[in-house]
Amino acid sequence: MMNLAIEVSKTSTPESVLFWILGPACVLAALGMVLAKKAVHSAILLASVMIILAIFYIAQDALFLGIVQVVVYTGAVMMLFLFILMLVGVDTSDSLTETIPFLRPIAILSALGFGGLLITLIGRATLGHPMVGLTEVNIEGNVPALSQLLFSKYVWAFEVVSALLVTAALGAMVLAHNHRLVARPTQRDLSIARFRTGSLATAAGLPNPGVYALHNAVDVPALLPDGTPSDASISAMLVARGDVLESLPFQLPAKGGDE
């Protein structure tokens, strides 16, 4: 067959320095993303991959895309990811045991094979002409040149894509909208449930937290008539945060009427 080496002219030395530093870093970050146990770590590593790609874009005379990559991807999309992660639970992490038999080895092998095939194919491919470079095209600047194309040759696709964006936004809203699966419980239902399920002790309502002049009382459990503090009288959130104070120090000394 023919000579398969790509006949592209050499790039500048600074660029090759840049590539040889950032390239491996990029691949390592991507690997880390896949291997990281926590989703948050994956997200941060992906963000770094994207920033490196943005630099590659700029290095390849795609200034506009590089900026967009940073703004849209790293800025907006990755934030969306993190936001959802928070919603779903930052701490949720994959269990590492594989449930589908043989999936993991097959996946790794086939991905290696895929990469190998792709790389050898690229290695063998030829364009039949030397690298042209974008200097000529970008003569008026990358953004005007791109916009020229976008609003002439690709204007139809551009319009369709805008419609797609609107549709996606609408779709996301519809999906995220919380559909009620059962009818909203009425007050009557709630009170019936209170009497049916809870103990009669709590049926009348939980006790209010204690009110003492010496401290903001919301974080102090109320004292029951027998003198014991009631945990039910304060918010569970405060307990979780550990912001609960002891009730006893604020207790007034008992009047010794009988003494």
Binding site: L103, L117, L121
Partner: protein, 629 residues
Amino acid sequence: MTSNSLVYLIALPLFGSAVLLLAGRRSDRWGHILATVLSGSAFVVGLVQFAQMLGRSNDQRAVTQKLFSWISVGTFKVDASLMLDQLSICFVLLITGVGTLIHIYSIAYMSHDLDRRRFFAYLNLFIAAMLLLVLGDSYLNLYVGWEGVGLASYLLIGFWNQKPAYATAAKKAFVANRVGDLGLSLAIMISFATMGTVSFAGVKEQAGHASTGALTAIGIMLLIAATGKSAQFPLQAWLGDAMAGPTPVSALIHAATMVTAGVYLITRSNFIFDAAPTAQLLVAIIGAITLLFGAIIGTAKDDIKKALAASTMSQIGYMVLGAGLGPAGYAFAIMHLLTHGFFKAGMFLGAGSVMHGMDDEVNMRRYGGLRKFMPITFATFGLGYLAIIGVPPFAGFYSKDKIIEVAFNAGGIKGITLGGAALLGAAITAFYMTRVVILTFAGSKRWDDKAHPHESPALMWLPMVLLAVGSVTSGIIFTHGNSLQNWLAPVVATSPAHEGELLKPAVVSILALVLVLAGVGLAIMKYLRKPVPSEAPTDVSIFTRIARRDLLQDDFNEAVFMRPGQKLTEVLVATDELLVDGAVRGVAHITQSTGRTLGMTQTGFVRSYAMWILLGAIGLLATIWVVTL
């Protein structure tokens, strides 16, 4: 010669049948009269034709009438066309004459039956079909009548089909006849394939050019057809059961007319048999076997109708034997056919008359001494009896002796064997017919007091008397100056082979008479001198038992055809279910299970689908990789 009136012969009774069947119960009151009148008119038309025929010279006598072109495809051209010649007219007169008499008889005989109208409709249908059979000018036209009489016979045997045994008998007759029909249809096919024509005239003309092999094949097929319709060996088994039909039917269809159609067919096809000696010899052999076969069965039957049926089978055996003897015998076969038509029909009607007076009892052992109670019946039956055993000058003497004589003169071992068989048959005939007469009319009474035997009404005995007259005189008329032989000469080549005569006619007659007397004597010894038990004795020899079982004909058919056939049907039904349809269902099953197996790859886990996509992509890449190598 052409004629425009032949069609009326068929159309009249056909019209009657159609009217009676379509009008239904509305015609109950007058249906039988209409049918009888129409049958009688057909007889008159036949007589007129006969008179006209007599007025023409010998070679001008045949008349034809083309009705329309029936089937015409390529070179296969068959007209619906009728032909009346010297042979047909004999049959026409016999069918319409005896038929009309039996119509008259039936008016009285069936008067108590609610379905009498239907009976007459079938009778008329039979007359029409039988006339078509003898009038058709080609084998295919004949075939229509051939199956038509089969249908009428089926309907009439099964007339009381609410009795399962009768319905079975009807079906048996139809199926046995169909086997014969198969032979006829094959004969037609062969003759078309070899001679390019199926008309009698055409085949007669071409027969000389056809190969002997083809002609022999046609002849054998025609013989099979004849054995089916005429209850000859080996398709004889249905005739005994056919007695399930009302007695007039037995007289008309299963004695006088339909069962003789085979003899007609062979005689009509004389040009084929004369050119195919092997087939002709087979015809004679079949006739000889059957005449003995029927005679032996006749000796063992206690049912008067079945005894007469066996006798019919035997007598038709004589006719077939006669027809199988070639030009020398055709005329005598036809003569015996005609005389037999008279005396056997008369005897059947007599039997019907006896049954009529005996509350439908058919067992002769329960009769006895009836001559005092039924003098007319006894007289007519007796005349018929004398005719059938061949006592001169009654009709049977002339016709049967001629056949025996011709058989002896056929030459060589063939002649002696066939003649001997015929002679032996005559003796046995004398024995069993004497037995019938003695058991029925002579001896002491063996019926219980519930029966009140009485003479039948005039409507019934009048036909019997007329038939008895025929039994007495017809033989003399037919042989007087060889009248029948000469009459038939243009149709069948009648060349009495006098050279090398083995026995003189007188010798044959004397021999036959001696043997007949021996038979009669034996019967008298056995049944008149000794009291007859009213139950059939059971401690009898194996031969008697076999004879009572109709010489095992049904056992043979059941063992060889029916049961293997049923088994085959069962096996085929199972095969169809299991193998043929099973293959189809198997394919369906394989498809289903393949689907189920492949469905297991559909785990529902999105990651495994992603895996498949990845593998697909690899496949694609690998293909590109290999292709660009």
